[in-house]
Symmetry: C2
Subunit: 316 residues, 2 copies
């Protein structure tokens, strides 16, 4: 369900590296060439290009991209060019910094990555920041947010299909009881949400829906001023139907007065190679306009071209 | 610092497998032969023997050992023959079962393994139990024990030597303040203990000692009837000086009226290939008798022989 378009015949990575080097040379930068190459290579291919670039020129491609490009285009190219694990580590690190703090980015990363990918992000965090991802998340959060985010980000969920229906019934009842009592920060809610496999949670949420009259998400819509409650609801949405969660982030980012490029860039860069096709379907269904059209109407220039290339608009 | 004695020339694993098969045949089992082989092979070699045994006889060596052996000898041979990751997964699973429940085993596993080894145990748990290690730990614990054990068992600590001295001072002061208030279950204590690297914690505990007049361990000796407090203290001991923690577990296991084979077996099987030489030094220093002598005086038969072989008594 990747939206990436990779050409049938991909050039040798040394050739790609050479073209990129050329794109940086002389008066101005050749942004079209950068898009033509990087937006049409998968993660393994981008890694080879970075390695070839370092071997051929003794320089770091990311540093050169950083110094040659600017603004939103720079951010999307840099995020995209990073490996998925480095990118997640970078985003979470950013989300623990004062000026770019975001409990939402931490939650989104924790709840929408596969168990292996989330663990690889923790390994990449060690390598890049010389500390653990969870120590930064724990240090920079507090209260209920910390209680929820630390177990989410340190989870290594089982990913098999096995479901224990007795347990699903039992835990659906626990969730219903705590939610009825408005005990949204109860440790049992957090335990269930943060440790159970996605298949098990799906069974639990289905039981909740069937036996308690509403979807769990609806029952959590009590109070929209409660930031913790909104985050908990979004975590459940991410675990249950990530494409719906991402559709909503994109919708709100685009509909705002002045697009929220921060969210738009992050969602496109992190989902293009994962489930962007499903997110596009969901977006079209919900907004009666394609994501391609919405992005084209709201962005411009190289930034627009890069986003459209990543979501699979046009040919490789 | 492994106490294991591996012969200079190790037989082909198929040959070892064949010898083990012979040891099971006929009237009675040849326990000496089992010890002679398994107690003198490292983890990688034992893995090859299991693979060769399965390939040659279509049977699982562990199942055959299980049916051929009995009692304490059976348990030590089985635990030892498992790979370290499978063994940790097995021990933690056992520790979440009602009849063999043990917060101590969970804490000990969480705090004395390297980050990679702890993660491998979580992977092995998925493979063997079709669920995550943390979901069982969280489900089978509650209250303060859960608050402490879940972050400990899900940690992936940074393992570099880098230390932030400013942070060490700051967090030593936080620890001192909370301990002075007897707020032993405070979320800040748990955050620091469960997320910081062992090098960072060492600097923090040194600052605590230098500036607050006592070792942190001493300040936690307030109330020996408080099971949570004892567990917290032991967790700090495990993170700080694991050989002292294990020396104490062995000392208490041996000194009891009737040896505690459960603890003795676990410590020998899990530490022989890791830091048993340091534990033996510590034991000798503290008890004025060698661990070899203490074990020989308190155990007997094949169980005794196996334990002594694993702690490096006699030749390979």
């Amino acid at each position: 369900m990747s939206s990436l378009k990779v050409p049938a015949s991909v050039p040798d990575p040394y050739e790609d590296a050479e073209q990129l080097k050329k794109a940086f040379k002389g008066w101005g930068t050749n942004e079209d060439l950068i898009i033509q190459i990087l937006a049409h290579r998968n993660a393994a291919q981008r890694k080879l290009i970075r390695d070839s670039y370092a071997a051929a020129y003794g320089e770091d491609l990311l540093k050169d991209l950083d110094s040659e490009l600017t603004s939103d285009f720079q951010r999307v190219v840099l995020l995209w060019t990073l490996s998925p694990a480095e990118r997640d580590a970078y985003l979470v690190n950013e989300a623990t910094k004062r000026l770019t703090a975001s409990n939402w980015v931490i939650m989104e990363t924790a709840c929408t990555r596969s168990s292996d990918d989330l663990f690889k992000a923790r390994q990449a965090y060690h390598a890049r920041y010389k500390k653990s991802l969870e120590e930064d998340v724990a240090y920079h959060t507090s209260g209920d947010f910390r209680k929820l985010l630390v177990p989410l980000i340190t989870a290594f969920r089982y990913e098999g299909d096995e479901v224990n229906m007795t347990l699903a019934r039992k835990e659906a009842n626990i969730l219903h009881e705590k939610i009825s009592d408005k005990a949204y920060n109860d440790e049992e809610i957090i335990r269930i949400i943060s440790t159970r496999s996605k298949a098990q949670l799906s069974a639990t949420f289905n039981h909740y829906n069937d036996h308690h009259g509403h979807e769990i998400i609806k029952d959590l819509e009590a109070d929209d001023d409660d930031e913790y409650l909104k985050l908990l609801r979004a975590a459940i949405e991410c675990l249950k139907t990530p494409e719906k969660y991402f559709e909503k982030v994109l919708r709100l980012a685009i509909k705002r007065l002045g697009t929220d490029e921060w969210d738009l860039t992050r969602v496109v860069a992190t989902r293009a190679e994962v489930d962007m096709e499903r997110i596009k379907e969901e977006y079209h269904r919900r907004n009666s306009v394609t994501l391609d059209h919405a992005i084209a109407a709201d962005t411009s220039g190289d930034y627009e071209k890069m986003l459209l290339a990543l979501i699979g608009h046009g040919d490789a």
